[in-house]
Symmetry: C2
Subunit: 287 residues, 2 copies
C-alpha cells in the first residue's frame, strides 16, 4: 500500500531533504513522525522503519511549498490507513511534526507510483530582494542584495533558457549523474516592485545546483559584471567556468512537482499554472 | 531639524509600537538604537533622549512594511546628520537595530512635518490562510483557518465599506477618542489562490481594533455564522455587539502611510497604488 505526501517546509533549520547521519533533515524528521504515528518507534522491536522517497533532493536551506514524497505501508498496517480519512491522517502527523514542516495532503496512490521516477516536471522559484536596506520579514526567504540590479539585462538573459539545452556549465563539479541535457519548459524573471524579484523555472529535471548557478550568473549580469548574452554563451560553451557563482540556498523554493496521467490529480490541487492564472484573474478583476 | 523614517518590522516579538515600561516595543527599540547612534546613551549625562513619533499605534503582534515615524534632532547635533548621507545613516542605525526591525529610508523633512498629524491615509493588509493544513512559512504572517470560507459572501460584504461611515460598531470598548466617522477610500478582498486571502483597506484614519473587528465579522460571514449583509447592518446599527469578534493581530500589517503635498515624496518611493499597478503589469506581461 503506497501513500503519497504533499509537503511544505521552511528549509532554514534543515540540513537538506535527504537523510544524513546525526543531522536534522526533512526526511529524518518526517520518517520519525510517521514512525511515531504508526507506532513503529525504534523501542518496539516489531517492524522496519518506514522510508520516505522524495521527488528530488533539496539542499540545506532550500524551502519547499510543494515537495512530493511517498512511502510504502506494509500490508499488516493497511488497516491503520484505511480506518482514517487522509486529511485526518495529515492532521495527526502534523501534530507530531515540528512547526517548520507540514503535510499539506496525503493520498493513497497506485503501487507503481514513484515520487522521483514518475515526476515529469519540477517548478522552482528563486526570490531576490534588491533594495538598499534589509527586510525583517524576508530575511529567510529572499536573497538580499543592496546594489541595484539591471533587471532588463537579466530578463534579456533569461529569454535563452526555455528549450532543450546542455546545462553542463550550470552544475556543481560534485554533481549527480543526471543528464545535463535538460528541457526547460518555463523560465521568467518577474519584477514584483519594491525590489522584489522572482525567478521562476520549470524543467523535466535539474542537475545539482543548476538553479542557484543560473541565478548567480543572472545576478552578475544584473550587476554588469558580465554581459546579458554571457548566460547563453555559458550554455553553448558548456563549461562550469563560463557561468557565475552559486547563489545562496535561502532564496530557492521547490514550488510543485508534476506527474503524468494517471497520477496527475493525486492531490486534487490546482496545478502551478492554474494558481498563476488565479492570481492574475483576481488582481485584474479587483483593481 | 526633523528627520522622518520609513520603518519595516515583524511585530511578532514586539509588544506593539508604543513605548511601555519594561516591555519591548518598536518605539523603545528604535529610540535606543538612535540614542546609541547619536551617542545619547543614558550613561552620558548630556542630552535628553530622542523621542520617535509614529504615524499611529500598531498593536502587539501587528507587522509593518511602511510605518512612518519622525524625530527632532537638537540643533547642536545637526552636524551629525548633515555629515552623513541619509542612506548611510539608515545603514548605520540598521546595524544597531535587531533583525526584526529596519529603517527602509530616512529623510530630512520640513519642521512642520508630523508623522501622525499630517498623515491623510493609511493602508493595511490583513492576511488569511484558509486551507486544511497549517503552513510552516506563513505561521507568523497569516491568520490560519482550516474551515472553508465562503469567499464570495465575504466579497459581497466588503463592497459596503468604501465611503464615509460611522464605524462605532467596529471599535473596541476601550477605544481611543478618534472620531468613528471614517472615510474608507479602498476596501477589497483578494483571493490569491491556494487558500491565501488578502483583505486590503485604506482610510483617512482608523479607530482602535477596527480592521481586526471588520475581519472578525467577515470571517463569521465566510463561515456562514452570519449573513453577508450583516456587516452593513452593523455599520448602520453602530453598536459593537452587532459586529463579530476581533481577529488576531498576526495577520495585520501596516503597508503604507500617505501624506499630502509638500510631504508626498519624502521617501521618493512608489506609492501603494503604483506598487499594485507594477505587480499587475508584470504579471500580465510575463504570463
Amino acid at each position: 500500500m503506497r501513500i503519497a505526501l504533499l509537503l511544505e517546509y521552511n528549509g532554514k533549520d534543515f540540513c537538506g531533504s535527504q537523510s544524513q547521519k546525526n543531522l536534522r533533515t526533512v526526511q529524518s524528521v518526517l520518517e520519525e513522525a510517521l514512525a511515531i504515528y504508526f507506532r513503529l518507534a525504534k523501542s518496539t522491536k516489531t517492524k522496519k522503519p518506514l522510508r520516505a522517497i522524495f521527488s528530488g533532493r533539496t539542499d540545506s536551506g532550500v524551502h519547499a511549498a510543494g515537495q512530493v514524497a511517498h512511502f510504502e505501508l506494509p500490508k499488516e498496517m493497511a488497516k491503520d490507513w484505511l480506518n482514517i480519512d487522509p486529511q485526518a491522517f495529515a492532521w495527526s502527523v502534523n501534530g507530531i511534526l515540528p512547526t517548520d514542516i507540514c503535510i499539506r495532503q496525503a493520498a493513497l496512490v497506485p503501487a507503481d507510483f514513484h515520487a522521483r521516477f514518475k515526476a515529469i516536471e519540477r517548478h522552482y522559484i528563486y526570490r531576490i530582494l534588491n533594495r538598499p536596506q534589509r527586510s525583517p520579514s524576508r530575511q529567510d526567504s529572499h536573497y538580499f542584495l543592496r546594489t541595484p540590479l539591471d533587471i532588463e539585462a537579466m530578463k534579456e538573459a533569461v529569454a535563452c533558457l526555455p528549450g532543450v539545452h546542455d546545462f553542463s556549465a550550470f552544475k556543481s563539479s560534485n554533481s549527480d549523474k543526471a543528464s545535463p541535457i535538460i528541457e526547460v519548459k518555463y523560465a521568467k524573471l518577474l519584477n514584483l516592485g519594491e525590489g522584489e524579484l522572482e525567478f521562476i523555472i520549470a524543467a523535466d529535471h535539474f542537475v545539482y545546483n543548476m538553479i542557484r548557478i543560473i541565478v548567480g550568473t543572472l545576478i552578475e549580469i544584473g550587476l554588469k559584471k558580465r554581459p546579458a548574452d554571457s548566460l547563453k554563451a555559458a550554455l553553448i560553451g558548456a563549461q562550469r567556468k563560463l557561468a557565475g557563482p552559486t547563489a545562496p540556498a535561502l532564496g530557492l523554493s521547490l514550488v510543485s512537482v508534476k506527474y503524468p496521467e494517471p497520477y496527475i490529480n493525486i492531490f486534487k490541487l490546482a496545478n502551478f499554472n492554474d494558481q498563476v492564472d488565479k492570481r492574475n484573474e483576481e488582481i485584474l478583476s479587483e483593481y
